[in-house]
Assembly symmetry: C2
Homo-oligomer: 328 residues x 2
């Protein structure tokens, strides 16, 4: 069996660490795992397959011999390093937003448009976390009944902002101030309707991702999207209240059946037994869960649903490793 030299760029971050876990769990055929981060993390030892690997600083030549680079760094760093990565002959599967909208870069959720990965020219982009989780729940319905529009209100975990987000919520829960807050306001006992800076339409960048990435991934260029992205005091798992309008008539029963038959998504919907997706029952899993499926009387063929998934897993690390699996 062929094995691969895999590098994780940004290995010490929340997503990078999760990528290591996912590579091991899914038994990705790793020949050598190279952990790359900023110079201040160089030398940090991270556990791998019973041993340890020392983190290396990103420096000239660090991608030599790599087959696949999993990007868990900033957009700025991804843009800066991509030429070097592809010149070294590696494929960059990048979790940043740097390349998502470039026409020649596939933007892939394997369960939705896995075939798109094949046309890559050295870079494949991993979508935004809340977009992945929403689309995983919506796609089984969209594929079968078409999709005209999507309205989403998100409930996003602090770990979506990385380890700094976790540190801020933990400090505030302990009643302490956070030295270097990740959010512009307190997040404990609060919700913040502002993720990312503002675009021309009045949407934030995070809200605009749902529109532009949703259209590209599902291949529906005319999809209409209204999205409000909100940070909530939850450690892991993004939840999304979704309303959608299909092209063709759809019943609640048919939507439930579509989701129950979907890949990577599961129905969690037994209200009277207290069973519906929540952060506490969906974290540390790769599956996205959907429930609360109801008619939406505000649209011709309308449905309302609620979904929840671990944004560090399927929303980031797992989806990235799944894309890498399409390359081997």
């Amino acid at each position: 069996m062929k094995t691969y030299t895999v590098a994780i760029l940004g290995a010490t971050g929340a997503v990078g660490r999760e990528m290591m876990k996912v590579l091991a769990e899914r038994a990705f055929p790793v020949h050598e795992l190279r952990l790359l981060a900023s110079p201040r993390s160089a030398g940090v030892l991270l556990p791998w397959q019973g041993g340890e690997i020392a983190v290396r600083a990103v420096e000239k030549g660090c991608f030599d011999g790599c087959d696949i680079v999993l990007g868990a760094a900033s957009s700025t760093l991804a843009r800066e390093l991509a030429p070097e990565i592809t010149a070294a002959g590696a494929v960059l599967v990048d979790n940043s937003s740097a390349f998502r909208h470039e026409a020649e870069v596939p933007l892939v959720v394997p369960e939705i448009n896995g075939a798109a990965a094949k046309s890559h020219k050295g870079i494949i982009a991993n979508p935004n976390c809340s977009t992945i989780i929403t689309l995983m729940a919506v796609w089984p319905i969209a594929r079968q009944f078409g999709l005209k529009s999507l309205t989403a209100a998100t409930y996003q975990a602090v770990s979506g902002a990385g380890v700094g987000g976790i540190a801020q919520l933990e400090a505030e829960i302990r009643g302490e101030d956070c030295d270097s807050p990740a959010f512009p306001h307190a997040i404990a006992r609060n919700v913040i309707p502002a993720i990312g800076s503002l675009t021309e339409t009045g949407d934030t960048i995070e809200e605009a991702k749902m529109r532009h990435e949703g259209r590209k991934i599902m291949g529906i260029p005319g999809l209409r999207v209204a999205c409000t992205c909100v940070r909530v005091p939850v450690m892991r798992c993004h939840s999304i209240a979704v309303s959608l309008e299909t092209e063709r008539p759809v019943t609640v029963e048919a939507a439930r059946a579509a989701i129950a038959g979907g890949a990577g998504v599961a129905l969690m919907d037994d209200f009277s037994a207290g069973i519906y997706p929540m952060p506490v029952n969906t974290e540390n899993q790769d599956t996205v869960f959907a429930g609360r499926i109801r008619p939406d009387e505000t649209r011709e063929h309308g449905l309302t649903l609620w979904c929840c998934g671990d944004q560090l897993r399927k929303g980031a690390a797992t989806n990235t490793v799944q894309i890498a699996e399409l390359l081997v």
Copy 2:
């Protein structure tokens, strides 16, 4: 100046205590304040105008001589006691859901349909908290441009479930189990997409309130509503992500102007300065705040906005006292 004998039914609860504060702050013309609660609270002393009032148990004759009873008790108790209250000649302004849908009972938000209070036959109902906050933000737009449909996803504070909800979140934040939890699941570090039991449509009772109360208060019997109600780990203030479709064309600028000119609602909308409504900057106030006003491309005349208000104040106690003011 005429003064009134006012009773608070359920005086020791989260809403009842807030009603006392609001009566004092608004200098309601109180002749005598009578604090009523269950027998286990009898004798508890609560501060009032520099002195103290002892809580009395609800018992036969306790409403004699009352002019106005502010109801902050359960629907069951409200139904049980209403005949006695009206027989005593008092008007019941009731915060429970017991009478909201009775045709002869006005359901009133003074800034929206204050005139409806005049037609009461002894009972006036105070609407659901998340409905009041949503409508306060939506009404200035609806009044001017008409309203066809309303999609709402709520972020509701634990105090909406009374003192038990506050106790559960506080205990869980301290890392303790809660002896008598108010919610069916942990709420710290979690969100729960389930408030109230399920109705036939698949909506919860809380979600159905937005539809039925919204139609009655705004006088739009054909209003279409899709609502998802979610409990979040916030102490006070409900937030709501709203998308709406007006009857007539509306611009973002016109919607902002309508809200800025609305009674009891204020525009809080300067994103680049980090200013938008959140629980931390709207609690302990009577005003409902709205921001993040954007076009909603999923509807013909669509708008998306975000609003936030203290559900113990305008969502309950303040609105109830405002209704009582219409009676004096």
